[in-house]
């Protein structure tokens, strides 16, 4: 018989699952009355859209439930699935409710998404938000500030609503609170992986991509309260870092397969939702605060060059902080930056004699038997080291 705590957790997670994998909430849903602006991975300054009274909609791909029929004729076969499935969601009308679409220049395929959107959906304005690949110039924060000001003008033009500094400050406050709760969840997972699994944490965070931030904060608060009450059965599984989920998302089934035999104590899943690592200052010019935070209070990824954050150093730090003993290096199929980093990191780990498992995935995978065997073998090798 389920305890109240477990029933409550299941109920929250079921709601999260519905939200997390909804390509677009039904039209007329309360959250979206004011309008939705969609954005392609990785990071987007959601506060600016939120301040305009809209819901920023993180486009996380069509996963395994979107049948790609139309998009394959538009995009090269050697391009990652998330580009195909997102285009499909546009072509099959699912994303029609969006007021507009942004992509960021994380990679060359992502830049093409704006071209595709403009040619196929001229009625739905689309643009690149040109976040810089050079994070190391003294001029970088000013440039991001200017580009964010441009974003404000564009959103104001699309919506007919001016975005005031006061509104942005208020949105930053709301997002800061949400980010603190996300960090709390991540810390709980790291320190007590038997209390909350990565699959559960994933659903809790991913649901935020489909809710107004205030609602997501309430959901997280409820989930964290419930999790603190949850009885924990200690389990002996190796602690691993998982990398590769910064853009195209691995299927939930893949995460669950890994967790059958490992604790994922640190990861880069849904990195865009967790890009800002500290509170954004709530005083002064809020657009400057967001711009500065993009450069100075941010995570690292294969698609943002920053000489201060060499990938090997960042991974070693992650391993240390998470008290992890091994790494699972995943890369989405055809993801060039992911594949390049996978090789560099695996060579580094080999040199450091840190065990690592290299995997490739696609968001549309539905069968994990072979992967399960690989992960199980890997986990056993860790237990018997």
């Amino acid at each position: 018989m389920l305890t109240t705590v477990e029933s409550s957790m299941i109920s929250v997670l079921e709601r999260c699952f519905e939200l997390a994998y909804a390509d677009m909430p039904e039209e007329g849903q309360e959250e979206d009355q004011l309008g939705v602006i969609g954005y392609f991975p990785v990071y987007f300054p959601e506060e600016i859209v939120h301040a305009a009274g809209l819901r920023p909609h993180a486009l996380l791909g069509g996963g395994s439930t979107t049948e790609v029929r139309l998009a394959d004729a538009r995009i090269g076969s050697f391009v990652c699935s998330i580009c195909h499935s997102t285009t499909e969601l546009g072509l099959n009308g699912t994303l029609r409710p969006m007021m507009g679409f942004f992509a960021q220049p994380i990679c060359d395929a992502a830049k093409h998404m704006v071209g595709i959107w403009g040619r196929n959906f001229p009625q739905q304005p689309s643009q690149l938000l040109a976040l810089p690949q050079n994070a190391n110039s003294a001029a970088a924060v000013r440039y991001v500030y200017d580009e964010y000001q441009r974003l404000c003008s564009v959103v104001a033009e699309w919506t007919g609503r001016e975005i005031t500094d006061e509104a942005v400050r208020a949105s930053i406050h709301i997002y800061n609170e949400n980010r603190r709760l996300q960090r709390e969840l991540t810390s709980m997972k790291r320190d007590e992986p038997a209390r909350v699994s990565t699959a559960e944490a994933y659903l809790l965070i991913r649901a935020g991509a489909r809710l107004r931030k205030e609602q997501h904060t309430a959901l997280l608060r409820e989930a964290l309260d419930t999790l603190r009450e949850r009885p924990v059965r200690p389990r002996d599984k190796p602690r691993v870092v998982f990398l590769g989920g910064f853009c195209e998302q691995p299927p939930l089934g893949m995460i669950e397969v890994i967790e059958d035999t490992c604790f994922i104590v640190a990861d880069d899943l849904l990195l865009g939702q967790r890009w800002i690592t500290e509170d954004v200052p709530e005083e002064g010019d809020p657009i400057w605060a967001l711009a500065e935070s993009y450069i100075e209070r941010s995570a690292s990824s294969p698609v943002q060059y920053d000489a201060r954050k060499p990938k090997e150093g960042m991974l070693m730090h992650m391993l240390q902080e998470a008290r992890a003993e091994a790494v699972i290096l995943a890369a989405a199929k055809f993801c060039e930056p992911g594949l390049d980093d996978q090789l560099a990191l695996s060579r580094h780990l080999d040199a450091q004699k840190i065990p690592c498992l290299v995997l490739e995935f696609e968001e549309k995978m539905t069968s994990f038997e072979q992967m399960a065997m690989q992960v199980e073998t890997f986990a056993e090798s860790l237990l018997f080291r």
Partner: protein, 432 residues
């Protein structure tokens, strides 16, 4: 403007260009002996002018890699990179370069390529940045990532006094000043703005001539094939940009092409169809690909490659102002990025305009398996232009230098079928 002559000129610009490229490659092999610092640069977004002003020898790894294809040495280099662990899906240029690193920098041209003191990687192809990260690890060379904001959407036009143009240009100028400081630290020399200005004067002259040379191919018949002769011309434009030799070459080339136009001499003796090429060459089967088209009397009058792989300067519509060398470098570079170098993602308007400007009968897309920058949405672009303009288009696919992706029979069949369509259209047009 040089007046076209009415008798054939003896100089052969293409042979001269090839000689110049070989000379330049050879000079790279002795850069270290001369005590010359070495910079690795890419064809899109590179601050060549600044580097030239500091006397850097410029290595273009893209040219090194394409040469492995031209010289039929690519498979060995690619295999070394894949054995090392690089995925088959990674850009073949990158892999050929990794193969070169694993071959002790011994290039098939016979030159032992020098390692870099500095690497400039721009954001105009994100793979450049991942490539520079490989050098950081292999050579211990600092990467300078140059971010030049491109077009934000297909209809993007920023007016010179617009807030965005000012902000973008300020950003690029700030980075150029960072680069100047880094060059001073590496070379021990002070930046010389007069030297930069001299180089810019040379670039202006080369660019003025290049724009005219590109326009000459609007003549019927076209005096050169954009995707064969044009590649040699462009190679010199890149390797010798800002130099006196570069200016002299462009003058020679201009005179030769102008003369051919005056005499009505075409690249193809019986030019029947004029085509636009979108995409990169297949360097490993360059001549074969061109032969497939020229055998039907088809000539590539224009190619977007000659813009984006040549620095994009012809698209900017601006020349450098040598009285403000750093500022105008930033202005022109920003505009070149927006109008020429970031156009892959939004090239449908430019291609449609080129079809008109060059009176083209059709458009050929060459999709590259390992280049997502160029080829990701080519099929969508093609669908747009075909359905909007009823333009005959052909899509063929291979790779820059990996011969495994060249399927001769399949490509020939498609090319032949394309020309059947063009012939039919010509017949129907004649019948009115």
């Amino acid at each position: 403007m040089v007046s076209p002559q009415t008798s054939p000129i003896e100089a052969d610009a293409r042979a001269t260009g090839q000689r110049l490229i070989n000379q330049w490659l050879a000079s790279l092999g002795t850069a270290r002996e001369r005590g010359q610092p070495v910079a690795y640069v890419f064809v899109m977004g590179n601050a060549i002018e600044i580097l030239q002003s500091f006397g850097f020898a410029l290595v273009f790894p893209e040219i090194n890699s394409l040469q492995t294809g031209v010289r039929k040495a690519a498979p060995d280099f690619l295999a070394k990179a894949e054995d090392f662990g690089f995925s088959p899906d990674v850009c073949s240029y990158v892999k050929a370069d990794v193969g070169l690193m694993l071959s002790n920098m011994q290039h098939p041209s016979g030159v032992r390529m020098p390692p870099p003191d500095l690497a400039i990687a721009s954001n105009l192809c994100n793979v450049y940045i991942k490539w520079a990260e490989i050098w950081e690890r292999h050579f211990g060379t600092p990467a300078f990532v140059l971010d030049i904001p491109g077009k934000r959407h297909a209809e993007w036009r920023s007016a010179p006094d617009s807030a965005t143009r000012i902000a973008d240009t300020r950003w690029v100028e700030g980075q150029f000043r960072d680069l100047i400081a880094q060059c001073e630290a590496i070379t021990g020399q002070r930046f010389d703005p007069d030297r930069l200005a001299e180089i810019e004067v040379n670039v202006n002259e080369m660019l003025r001539l290049w724009i005219e040379i590109l326009a000459f191919n609007r003549s019927r018949p076209s005096p050169y094939n954009a995707m064969l002769d044009g590649l040699t011309y462009m190679g010199v434009l890149n390797a010798y940009r800002g130099t006196r030799e570069g200016v002299e070459f462009m003058r020679l080339l201009y005179a030769e092409v102008a003369d051919k136009v005056a005499r009505g001499e075409g690249r193809v003796s019986n030019e029947r169809f004029r085509l636009i090429f979108s995409g990169t060459p297949c360097y490993v089967n360059l001549r074969r690909m061109i032969e497939l088209f020229e055998s039907h009397g088809g000539v590539f009058a224009a190619a977007d490659y000659l813009t984006y792989a040549a620095g994009g300067l012809d698209s900017a519509g601006l020349f450098y102002d040598p009285s403000r060398p750093v500022e105008s470098l930033a202005e022109v570079s920003t505009l070149a990025a927006q109008m020429g170098l970031s156009n892959h993602f939004f090239s449908h308007h430019t291609l449609a305009q080129q079809v008109k400007d060059y009176a083209a009968d059709g458009l050929v897309y060459h999709g590259i398996k390992s280049c997502r920058t160029v080829a990701t949405s080519m099929a969508d672009n093609r669908e747009y232009l075909t359905s909007r303009y009823g333009l005959p288009t052909l899509y063929i696919e291979s790779d820059l230098i990996d011969p495994r992706y060249w399927s001769d029979a399949q490509i020939k069949n498609r090319v032949d079928a394309f020309f059947e369509v063009l012939e039919q259209r010509t017949l129907l047009a004649k019948r009115g």
